[in-house]
């Protein structure tokens, strides 16, 4: 019997739990040569802000052991550019398109969310209160309970579909932040965004990134992300979407066992543009091997006794 990979995030039904993380898959067309994006459980498109943003100066990326630091800084065409130039090209995809909504002020988050709310083929947003690479807003909202609650509540008032909030790992107690955004109206949380880090070139004695610090992603952060998913899933009733260093189907299953309902694959897309279909197939063969008919039985399936 073919196992069921279907999961639910609030009122979204995902054909499988594998989605692509914001900023790592473009908008989808970048990967169409490698596979049909419709096979995915969902696509989180690049962080979208009120106005066009050029992002941070080059260099914006540093390779690190089993990972990378980025300081892209939310380069994007702005919400109007997204709606006019990109949305028409991707709205026919047979998967859920989720826009990552970013901003410097609460007003900007509201503006973007309102405009995205009007798009028929976008069933959800991911509120990015955890970008470590912008001077104003971003992570500043996601690292204190009052500001995380305030921006979540403000967007909740204007956004009427599924609202996912993407949390920062750069906090002392992620469960506390998750509970606060749940209370403010979030329908799900994504755990986690990148870890703040830095890289130094010892020869030149200078930072590698133009911004000195950046966000660490890749397998290097997986144990931290798993721990945070586990802590968050125990603390909230809303679904947790796990991400952080997933490269293989086994990694994805570990996140489900830790309590994630679905996962996002990010940096791995850079290493292997065909990694997502491989992860979906790998999850299915794991389920067959373990005689698991319904993937939902893996969620929170960690055995600790």
């Amino acid at each position: 019997m073919k196992p069921s990979l279907e999961v639910n995030i609030h009122n979204l039904v995902l054909k499988n739990p594998v989605m692509t993380a914001s900023g790592t898959f473009g908008y989808g067309p970048e990967f169409e040569d490698f596979f049909d994006p419709s096979v995915l459980g969902g696509i989180f498109v690049k962080g979208t802000t009120g106005k066009l943003r050029q992002g941070n100066p080059y260099p914006r990326m540093a390779e690190t052991p089993m990972g990378m630091l980025n300081a892209v800084g939310l380069q994007n065409k702005g919400v109007d550019g997204f709606i006019s130039d990109i949305y028409p090209k991707i709205k026919h995809y047979g998967t859920h398109l989720i826009v990552n909504v970013s901003g410097s002020t609460v007003e900007e988050y509201i503006e973007v969310a309102e405009k995205i709310n009007a798009l028929e083929h976008i069933p959800a947003i991911e509120l990015n209160i955890s970008c470590p690479n912008v001077k104003e807003g971003g992570m500043a909202f996601g690292t204190s309970c009052p500001s995380a609650a305030a921006v979540t509540r403000a967007v909740r008032e204007v956004y009427h579909k599924t609202m996912i909030v993407k949390l920062s790992p750069n906090v002392t107690n992620i469960a506390e932040i998750a509970q606060v955004v749940e209370g403010a109206g979030a329908d799900a949380v994504s755990v986690v965004n990148t870890l703040l880090g830095m890289a130094i070139n010892a020869e030149t004695r200078r930072p590698v990134l133009s911004t000195v610090t950046g966000g660490l992603s890749g397998p290097a952060i997986k144990p931290v992300a798993l721990r945070m998913v586990w802590q968050t899933a125990k603390a909230v009733k809303i679904p947790v979407i796990g991400l952080g260093g997933i490269m293989t189907a086994t990694d994805a299953i570990e996140f489900l066992l830790a309590g994630a309902t679905a996962v996002q694959v990010g940096t791995a897309n850079f290493i292997d543009p065909t990694v997502c279909p491989k992860i979906i197939a790998g999850i299915e063969s794991y389920m067959i091997r373990h005689e698991t008919e319904d993937i939902k039985s893996l969620i929170n399936g960690l055995i600790t006794v």
């Binding site: 790592t24 490698f34 080059y58 052991p65």
Partner: protein, 260 residues
């Protein structure tokens, strides 16, 4: 242009000098069309320090033999791993990526200027230009005589001019010091260049002085190679652009502060 992900088998791995080697690779399928200036993202397995793929430009493409070659500089752990790979070993590539050099019309004269490992894409470019009836002159700048790489291959489709820093071969100095740039010697319709940024900037300014179009091929640290991660950006007059998809070949007039 459709992009592919294929495994390639190494046919030959040849050292050119202590710093450079040439890999000849063959895929299990027929090669798709590849244009001069395009590159591949090469996966390097088994190295903890090399997490991302390495962007390497096509040095040559031989459709008859169904092989490609890559000219690689030993720079760090990743390229050192490639350097010790043997015939029969497999490497995975995402390709062909990026835009390509503009091919002028028959009867034109082109000057191809490469510094160090920057000559890599100019071999295939020269070959295709010559095939299109363009007279090709390659100006190669090397550190020393030992670093003049595969001169015979460039002579196969045109003239080869050399500069070395110590002057033991060709003109002494950098590529911009070569006498070909003097007013009475310069008779080219187009200049192409690839190498270190300061060299390309100087070459681009010389092309402007001679009032001929110029194309530069950039190298920026890169992650995805397909325009998704926005890491390899270059500042242009129209804002940040991706070297991997809008480039690697650019008109220096479009690049911010390149001709100043």
């Amino acid at each position: 242009m459709k992009k592919f992900i294929h495994d390639f088998h190494i046919i030959e791995n040849k050292d050119l000098n202590p710093g450079h080697f040439v890999l000849t690779l063959k895929p299990e399928v027929n090669l798709p069309p590849i244009f001069p200036g395009q590159f591949a993202e090469v996966r390097i397995d088994g190295s903890t320090g090399t997490f991302l793929r390495r962007p390497l430009s096509f040095h040559d493409v031989d459709y008859d033999a169904n092989t490609i070659t890559l000219l690689v500089q030993r720079k760090g752990d990743g390229t050192n791993r490639l350097a010790v790979m043997k015939p029969g070993d497999t490497i995975n590539m995402v390709y062909p990526l990026g835009n390509s050099f503009h091919i002028g019309s028959s009867g034109e004269r082109a000057l191809l200027v490469g510094g160090g490992c920057g000559v890599a894409p100019l071999l295939y470019l020269g070959k295709i230009l010559a095939k299109n009836g363009i007279r090709v002159t390659t100006l190669m700048g090397a550190r020393s005589e030992e670093y003049i790489m595969e001169p015979e291959r460039y002579k196969g489709h045109g003239e080869l001019l050399l500069t070395t820093e110590d002057g033991k071969a060709g003109t002494k100095g950098y590529v911009i010091h070569h006498e070909v740039w003097r007013e009475r010697n310069f008779s080219f319709d187009r200049v192409y260049t690839c190498g270190p940024d300061p060299m390309m900037k100087a070459v681009a300014r010389l092309a402007v002085r001679h009032q001929v179009p110029c194309e530069v091929s950039l190298e920026q640290t890169m992650a995805c190679g397909v325009g998704a991660c926005l890491c390899c950006v270059i500042e242009t007059n129209e804002g940040n652009k991706c070297t991997c998809t809008d480039g690697p070949v650019f008109d220096p007039n479009d690049l911010k502060n390149w001709l100043e």
